[in-house]
Structure formats: structure tokens, C-alpha cells
Symmetry: C2
Subunit: 204 residues, 2 copies
Amino acid sequence: MMLTLYDCLESGNGHKVRHLLSLLGRDFKLVLKDIHKGETRTPAFLALNPDGRIPLLQLEDGRCLAESNAILCYLAEGTPFLPTEPFARAQTLSWLFWEQYNHEPTIAVARFWVHHLEMTEARKTQLEELHEKGRAALALMDRHLQAQDWLVGDGPTIADLSLYSYSSVSEEGGIDRAPYPALQAWLTRIEAQPGFIAMEPWSG
Amino acid sequence: MMLTLYDCLESGNGHKVRHLLSLLGRDFKLVLKDIHKGETRTPAFLALNPDGRIPLLQLEDGRCLAESNAILCYLAEGTPFLPTEPFARAQTLSWLFWEQYNHEPTIAVARFWVHHLEMTEARKTQLEELHEKGRAALALMDRHLQAQDWLVGDGPTIADLSLYSYSSVSEEGGIDRAPYPALQAWLTRIEAQPGFIAMEPWSG
């Protein structure tokens, strides 16, 4: 018996979880779901996750946990990736919530649109708004990382892992990272960790 | 010396935090910021929160914590509002992340648009999309609450508090709650808790 991860390889939300599992050296069974074929909206999958999304972690006893950042917290508990000191823990969570509200909905959504949606004139205008907000998110991270090597404290946490995945492929959604050298150096630091795994290239 | 909360009374994200502080019986200093006058984007405020948003919790020692749900976790640690059992804790976090990704960006944003933005034809179409997604979010909660009184476990947690605030005023954004009786009963249970505080009416 082991952990099962329901996932889709092009998802950065899924990558976060696979990345942490790799850094922790944990075995798991990977079950791929094609989100473009509705495989996360079948009655069988909705019984596991009523929200119909990957990643979804199924524990050894069959219970399921949704939301990538909640999965990170669950898996990281008791490891250096989730600080125990109350304020450092709170800052880690703050970055995780910021990621889901400001970063993923702009940078990840721009990447999805560029690859999967027909670019109507209305969407082009909305894509420009996503790019503007996405650049603001990367700029905020860059300013923060000018003063410190990791988002929280002196070493990598799940805040870094959560924000790494879509940051590392921002150009796939049309957002250049050249203006953010501190962010780039941080990406390189993460990529140097033993157990690092990269985002998958688009399968097409 | 006490906690300081930078806030805006019409914000449900701020309400969550004031609600928990009230339930816990904690004193705090409230500093109101008018988001419509740019008071969270001044250099002085950005020095406290580079993201330029309320609510922002300032600790006794001056350190600041952003993101409403991270603030809830910080304040609830060691209280019954944040379970310690690992899976229940993970489920609580899962609802908090779900709230910021699926619930707030639809139900809270619809409420904001209706009150503050001119309704162009393009916005009317987008508002309909927000309503559809917001109703899906409330329907998911309603199905979950048909089987249990609280979102996680046998008593109220910060998952309930986080999702209460904007759910309780969904009609202000144009989303009727009549189709969701289990959700309505859950709102009533929360309102019966000692220390409950309601969302503020719109100041205009």
C-alpha cells in the first residue's frame, strides 16, 4: 500500500506535489487523468474529489485530499519544508495563499489559454490583463528575493516549491522573466536541490 | 501592546479575521483603510504589506502577516478552530485554499462589481459567468453540508469561518441562496455561536 497521486503532467499544481514527493524520497503511485477529455469530471472521479480537479492525493486508507497547497502542507508536516516556528509557518502559509490568489490565476491561466484556447479579440484583451497581473506577481517575488535566498527563512520550504512550478514556465504563457534576476537566481537555487524535478514539457 | 488589524469593514476577508478574534475573545486595535481611496497602496502601507491589501495583522513586535486565511491559521493555532489531527488539519486547509480559488473570486468579486463598477455589456457577460461559478461553489458546499453540520469534523473550524463571510452576503452580488437549504442551516449554526459577528452592511 502506498500513496496514490491523481495528476496531469502539464499541471504546475500537480508538479508541486510530485516535486515535494521527490525531494522527500517518497514512493507513490501516479494515476494520470486527461483533463482535456473530462477524466476528472466522471462520476467515479467526482466521488473522490467533488471539485473535479487534480492533483488529488489518496492516502493508504483510501481517504482523499484535494488542493495542491493543502497536499503540500500535509506531506511536509514534520519535515524542514514546513517550519514549526509559528510566525515562519504563518509566512509559509501566507505565500501559499498568495500563490493561489495572485500567481496561479494569472501566470498559469495565461499558459493554459495560450496552449488550449482560441485567441478571440476579447481573450486577447483579457490575456494582456493576465500578463500585467502576472508580471506584478513576479516583480513582487523578485523584490522579496533581492533580500533573501528563500521565500521564508534560511532554507527551502513548500512556499518555494509552490511558487516554483508555474514561475519556471512563465514564458510558455507569454511572460518573460528577464526583468527579474533575483527570481531567476532563486529558480536556479531550487533546481540545484537533490531530488529536483523539472516541469514537464507540453505534450502537445 | 496588542495585535493591530488593518482592515476595511466591507471586506469579507477582513470579516473572517474579526470574527475569529471575537470568537476567541481577543483584544485588538482596528485600523481602517479605505481601499477605494488607495489607502492600501501608499508607500507607508506597502512597507507593511508589499501586496497592498487588507486584512493585514501586525503583531505586538511589529511584524506583519498578510492573507486572511494565513492569519486565521496563525490565530487559531492551539485552539479548537484548527484541528491538530493531521488529516482533519489538512482538510481544513483544503477548504481554505478552495475558498480563495473558487469561492472568493466568484462570490466576493460579483459583490464588489455590483457595488463598485459600472456595468458595461462586457462586464454583464462576465458577471453571469461569475454567478454560474459562484452557484457551483455554493452547491458544492450544500452537498457537503447535507451530510455533516460543519465543513470538517464535529465542530466549527476556521474552514467554516473563512467560508461563512462571503457566503452570508452572496445575494449582495446577485446570488440567491434559496436553492441551498443545507448551506442556509449551516449559516444559522455559525450565527448561533457565542461571539458571532455579522458582516457589515455596505457603507454606500
